[in-house]
């Protein structure tokens, strides 16, 4: 029997996390435009609201009122459904991310700020997260356009190649922490010294690179690739369907940034303040995630796009061996019980 207070707390948490995710997605579009403008000596959107802050709102309204086009010969059902598939996994996976330590208000413990505390959180996240590529592939295929189809194909190839690396690096982290529960993983890195980034520097680097590929972001955005494929899988999309793809992309970025924070940066742990109150931890979590999000934008406006064969070469010939090596070394260390970092961490 769940007490109604518990239910209310649950609902509040869900509202906060989902609402937050949607808003972050919207704000990211603005941030992307603002930062890119600044990096190019421009001002960026500044007409709607103060400093252009209401731009996402205006964009949203615009998307709603745009004509929704249906290409000739498209598979109508799939064409409509694809954006949903693309956007949905991000929303499902955010459920297992623990955003803070236990919330304690007026001496009462309300648990962590997370929707679900799954024992197999990591597996759930990987399984559902992997689905989002179906949206891209189906959208590309259903559009009945060669550009879209090529975009979809590339997305699938890329996803297969980089998901491997991603999973292998995560495996190394799991090996270290000995649990599949994300909350426990982040609990295990309470002090800055125990953050997995120190014990897994190579893993962290590989993870970050694979993260870009997984979210189809520059320099790995081959699924859209304006220079070659017009707009790739969403060439034929317009109006809200198009917006959903975008929302999906930015939400996926947010989720994977959260994941990186949990896996490598100790989640809500605050450096040098072990028993910080939960809201400070939550702030630290947001700050770390934002850093990753900024990195996404920053890299996009710095690096040129790879060639597709380079992408594949990098994935299979460099990243995969390195990830395997990393897992192997981690495995050796763990099985021999050499936990140097934990010792070092406990010193700090």
């Amino acid at each position: 029997m769940i007490a109604w207070q518990d239910l209310l707390v649950m609902v509040l948490k869900i509202a906060l996390i989902f609402g937050g995710l949607i808003n972050v997605g919207a704000l990211m579009t603005l941030a992307e435009r603002k930062f890119s403008a600044w990096m190019q000596y421009r001002i960026g959107p500044n007409r709607v609201g103060p400093w252009g802050l209401l731009q996402p709102l205006a964009d949203g309204v615009k998307f709603i009122f745009k004509e929704s086009l249906m290409p000739d010969g498209a598979n109508k059902a799939l064409f409509r459904f694809a954006p949903v598939i693309a956007a949905l996994p991000a929303f499902m996976t955010i459920a297992v991310i623990p955003f803070s330590n236990d919330i304690v208000i007026a001496g009462k413990n309300y648990g962590k700020l997370a929707i679900a505390d799954l024992d197999i959180g990591v597996l759930f996240l990987l399984a559902i997260g992997g689905l989002s590529v179906y949206g891209v592939i189906l959208g590309g295929w259903a559009s009945n356009s060669k550009f879209s189809l090529m975009g979809g194909l590339r997305a699938s190839a890329q996803m297969i190649s980089y998901e491997l690396t991603l999973i292998l690096t995560i495996l190394a982290v799991i090996a270290l922490s000995g649990t599949l529960n994300l909350a426990e993983i982040s609990d295990g890195q309470a002090t800055i010294g125990t953050w997995n980034i120190w014990s897994q520097p190579l893993g962290f680097m590989l993870f970050v690179i694979a993260m870009f590929a997984e979210t189809n972001r520059h320099p790995f955005d081959f699924a859209e690739c304006e220079a070659e494929l017009v707009a790739g899988f969403h060439t034929e999309y317009s109006a809200m369907k198009f917006a959903l793809f975008f929302l999906g992309e930015y939400s996926a970025m947010t989720v994977i940034s959260c994941l990186a924070t949990v896996l490598f940066l100790g989640g809500p742990s605050v450096p040098f303040w072990v028993d910080a109150p939960w809201y400070v931890g939550f702030g630290a979590f947001i700050a770390k995630t934002s850093m990753f999000l900024f990195l996404f934008i920053w890299v996009r406006w710095t690096l040129p796009r790879f060639r597709f064969d380079q992408l594949m070469g990098l994935g299979w010939k460099v990243m995969l061996p390195l990830a395997l090596f990393n897992l192997f070394v981690t495995g050796v260390f763990v099985s021999l019980g050499w936990n140097l970092w934990a010792k070092l961490g406990s010193l700090i």
């Binding site: 930062f35 403008a37 600044w38 990096m39 190019q40 000596y41 421009r42 001002i43 920053w298 890299v299 406006w301 710095t302 690096l303």
Partner: protein
Amino acid sequence: MVIVKRKELSFAEQLYIPEILRGLSITFRKMFEPKVTRQYPEEALIKTDVTRGQPRLVVNEDNSIACVSCGLCEAACPAYAITIDGGETEREIEREPKRFDIDMLRCILCGFCEEACPKDAIYMSDELELADYSREALIYDMDKLKRPKKALQDRIDYVNRINDRWQTPSST
């Protein structure tokens, strides 16, 4: 034939990572440099002698149009923006346009019409703004194109100055 040798890359360079970091640091620094964007409607464009705005037709002091509908601008226009129908007039110069349309959506502001005109009747004004709610409204007819000669005088002087440079000594 020139054979271009690829530069041998050092290990660090092959790793790309340092170069990527260098690139990132550049873009990061650029964020804080002064911006060059011009806030257009508030900050008007700077107009100079050479500003080549939309073409306009010259109206003489006696209120007659200078154009004789010779069609040379129509023929010179690379964008097929001009359409002219001529007709007879009682004035000493027997011919004048009855219809003179410039499709401003087609016009590429190249100034060929100005250059082609044998009667100094069409000049590139400094008017640049072009916005309306329909395509039809942006096909300018004679009434919208006419400008008193005085309004175009700066441009006329400028063009004359430029043309003088090419003048070969001769008498006509």
